[in-house]
Amino acid sequence: MCGINGIVAYLSSSKAPEETELLVTRDAMRARGPDGFGAWWSMDRRCGLGHRRLSIIDLSDRASQPMTTEDGRFIVVFNGEIYNYPQLRAELETDGARFRTTSDTEALLHLYARHGADMVHRLRGMFAFAIWDEVRQGLFLARDPYGIKPLYTANDGWTFRFASQVKALLAGGHVSRDPEPAGVVGFHLFGSVPEPFTLYRDVRALPAGHTQWVDVAGPREPKPFANLAEVLAKGAAHPTSAAELPERVRAGMLNSVRAHLLADVEVGVFLSAGVDSGALLGLMRDAEQREIRAITLAFEEFRGTSEDEAPLAARVCEQYGAQHIVRHLGEQEFFDDLPAIFEAMDQPSIDGVNAWFVSKAAKEAGLKVAISGLGGDELLGGYPSSLDLPRWRRWFGPFAGVPGLGRLARKFIGAVAPGFSRTRPKALGLLEHAGSWPGAYLLRRALFLPQELPGLMDAEIAREGLRRLKPLRRLAASLTPDPRSDSARVCVLESAHYMRNQLLRDTDWAGMAHSLEIRVPLVDFTLLAALAPAIPALTPGEGKAALAKAPTSPLPNETVIRGKTGFGVPTGAWMNKVADEDLGPTAHTPENKGLISRRWSATVFSSATRANDQLEVRAS
């Protein structure tokens, strides 16, 4: 994990980038890389690259970045980890490559020199990197298939810039803060800003699983190299029986966990009382990790109640011989940390508070790397959406064929029962949306529905934002090609939207704010390909049961029975208090009553707008 940035003045008319801008942007990401920093300029000073380093693999100075090939042609800045680095290195050395370090970064240089843009197909890991080619005078950028690592770009028509964080790009002082209506609308629809949009018109995310080329003719449109739906569709073409599921899960998970332990520093684990993190701990032991420290977040409010995860987590630790660290959190600390949380939050998100505190606990324990169980629910059908979406599709699908029926019903009910319309907006949207996969998913995950947006912000911004975002078509596009089974469709929708835009992004900023690298073995493209043939036959609950049995010594039954709790924190009540203060008299209107996420979103969004008055779009 690191922070990377760069500037390319690609148009001949533009002035050369200023060193100050490069360094200010780089150092705005200091927390991402406290162990070192570097900068590099091309011979003509039209391209500058910056790097902040968090040393995980090859801790020596020789592995510092930006890193250059021996002949000086290629220069790389890299954020992330390449988990199959040892295999790649062996292959490259067989092919004649000479390594000067033991860093995975150097492998990227050799791979690019040999395979060009096709190199990305050989990488297993989480990555966002940029390689400058002095001969072709161009910049190659790439981001991993799931979008675990962030990469944002800004192009004003003269100069191209990139960085690991939106706020860092803005800190450089040369990127417009004009609002992007699609980003504003996206946040209110989903509770996070859907990529490639950000809150700013001129800042875009390089989409997950894409590469981009920039040269004197400017940045090209990003090209996809990995597609979750395609992997699942291929898997569905060669389905396996349900009986094979446990062994596939066990082998795939162990392989992924083993790969994710590659490090020259200690690797810890976040441990709740749930299946995902417990199974990962067991698999870490199976992968022969000797000393393991597990971090559990616990709450004074829950002490002695069934909500307290610590006792069950302690049992799991004991079973696998891990050292257990329990960190207690109270309400006062939540309020004390809130300003810092909003400061670190790169883009507004209604989640991420829990990731902040567990990362803080890991840092206090002296960890630099921690394994997280994030992704298990998306991969193995652990969310209610696995049941709801197929059911809704069956129930409401016939109505979807009648044009305008859903909208008509919504307007009719809104006219005759306005109270119901305001307090049950999602129930009102069932006929309109639940008959299609994208519509049903929107309904399941929506913070607000499209028809509610004009009441929240300037009506023109709402209209323009929806036009640009095209939420339903965007959701539908992620299901291309068709993954060919209900469980695979839900897996893609949850992975490519909720997990990518919210969970993984929150994990990045919350972890990086504490200089902590969070690794997610359940979010692994190789693992997805391995499980893809089994996913069509997956029934709700079956996947998690298989995961619980994946370690040689299976998880205790209580863990499986208890079901999903994750790192639940009693933040609901705390968030309500903050929202009450922020919303004032409107806090208890029917629209706000009882809907913590909606109330909290107002607080989160206003924290973002306080930093930028050009985003004052919410109605007073």
Binding site: L11, S13, G157, P196, D202, A217, G218, E221, R474, A477
Partner: protein, 392 residues
């Protein structure tokens, strides 16, 4: 070997036209012809007030000022000719250009300039622009404005800045100074239209600043070159602020004297708020005269973020003029060379080649699945273009 692609250019004016847009269109089409990338370039202008023949490699039809007649002629021309690329020289013509591109399965380039593209246009113009393969903008400001109302992948919006003719060169300008009998006065110059409907060029700001400048000890004369129906207001303003004898309205200068006029000035000042780019800045600086503009819109590009000329706020204008007049004039040859290095014909030709290369790439490149969300893919005739272009 496949033939090179054929282009149809729908433009308000080009060869025989007046003003910055006509000049830009001539430059663009000329560079395109020089690159040899097109088998034919057929230009359909709405207006051509002056007699001027296009280069041999470009065919220009008769001007058709009427909208309906123009549209009929454009459609008829498209019907009977092979067309692979449609170039639309102005946003107002984008719907017609998009229709022809769709009918012919051709690629579409829409050119945007300045104020016409800053506010959100009609839905029809917006839809036409959003269907374009490439949108060209003369400046970063125009590009940002288009992005504010158009749902287009940002990578499809390219900036191709204005260029300046080689005929503008540095010199002492004494002939013109003598002819104008300005003696030892310090000469300020603005070249631009005086349009009562727009009033953005900023001649009034310069007139209002003259008392302050004189008060700072500068014996100045302000030359206002250009024509337009706002002249009477500006003359009245000069009288009102008591500087009528220091402001001279020259009318529209003939092109052959323009270079000399720039040379005669001590400072070219155009505090415009509405420049798409501001080609006059380039003409002044390649004539060796320092330039001053407001730090807004396309002026920033023409003055290269302050590296070629001076950028100030409106409030700072009087002080900035006085300060620049007090400084020795920069080396004219160096200033001209620096300007040409950024905006000369070679740079412009390179930009046009980049545009062509980018246009070819749209065929063969792997599309982001969401590109089809933002812009429905056109299929008819799309694959022929890359094959046809062997030149680049």
């Amino acid at each position: 070997m496949k033939p090179s692609p054929a282009m149809l250019a729908l433009v308000p004016d080009a060869f025989g036209g007046r003003g910055g847009i006509a000049q830009y269109t001539r430059d663009f089409l000329g560079a395109l012809a020089d690159a040899g990338a097109m088998s034919t370039i057929t230009v359909l202008p709405r207006h051509a007030p002056d007699l001027a023949a296009p280069p041999e490699t470009i065919e220009q039809t008769l001007a058709r000022p009427g909208r309906i007649v123009y549209s009929v002629v454009a459609l008829r021309t498209a019907l009977f000719r092979p067309i692979d690329v449609v170039f639309c020289g102005h946003l107002f013509m984008a719907p017609l250009a998009a229709l022809i591109a769709r009918l012919k399965g051709a690629k579409l380039i829409v050119q945007t300039h300045g104020v016409e593209a800053w506010p959100r246009p009609s839905w029809l113009q917006r839809a036409a622009l959003e269907s374009a393969d490439l949108v060209l903008c003369v400046s970063r400001h125009t590009r940002a404005a288009v992005l504010s109302w158009a749902a287009v992948a940002p990578e499809r919006l390219l900036v191709v800045p204005n260029t300046v003719r080689d005929t503008f060169t540095p010199g002492n300008g004494s002939t013109t100074r003598n002819a104008l009998a300005v003696g030892s006065k310090r000469v300020l110059l603005t070249v631009g239209r005086m349009d009562s409907g727009q009033r953005y060029k900023g001649q009034d700001r310069v007139i209002a600043a003259i008392p302050y400048i004189v008060g700072q000890g500068h014996d100045v004369e302000y030359l206002v070159a250009g024509e337009g129906d706002d002249r009477a207001r500006l003359e009245a303003l000069a009288r009102d602020v008591g500087v009528r004898e220091r402001v001279r309205f020259l009318g529209a200068p003939e092109f052959r004297v323009l270079n000399e006029l720039y040379r005669a000035a001590d400072l070219f000042v155009m505090p415009s708020t509405g420049e798409g780019f501001g080609i006059a800045f380039l003409e002044a600086m390649t004539s060796g005269t320092p330039a001053l503009g407001l730090d807004v819109a396309g002026t920033r590009d023409a003055l290269a973020d302050g590296e070629l000329g001076s950028l100030v706020s409106e409030a700072e204008l009087p002080v900035a003029i006085a300060r620049l007049l007090a400084k020795p004039k920069p080396d004219p040859v160096e200033l001209a060379a620096a300007t040409r290095a950024r905006f000369g014909r070679e740079m412009f030709a390179a930009c046009v080649r980049n545009v062509l290369n980018r246009l070819m790439e749209v065929d063969g490149g792997v599309r982001n699945p969401l590109s089809s969300v933002q812009r429905p893919a056109q299929t008819v005739g799309r694959k022929s273009l890359a094959e046809k272009s062997q030149v680049l």
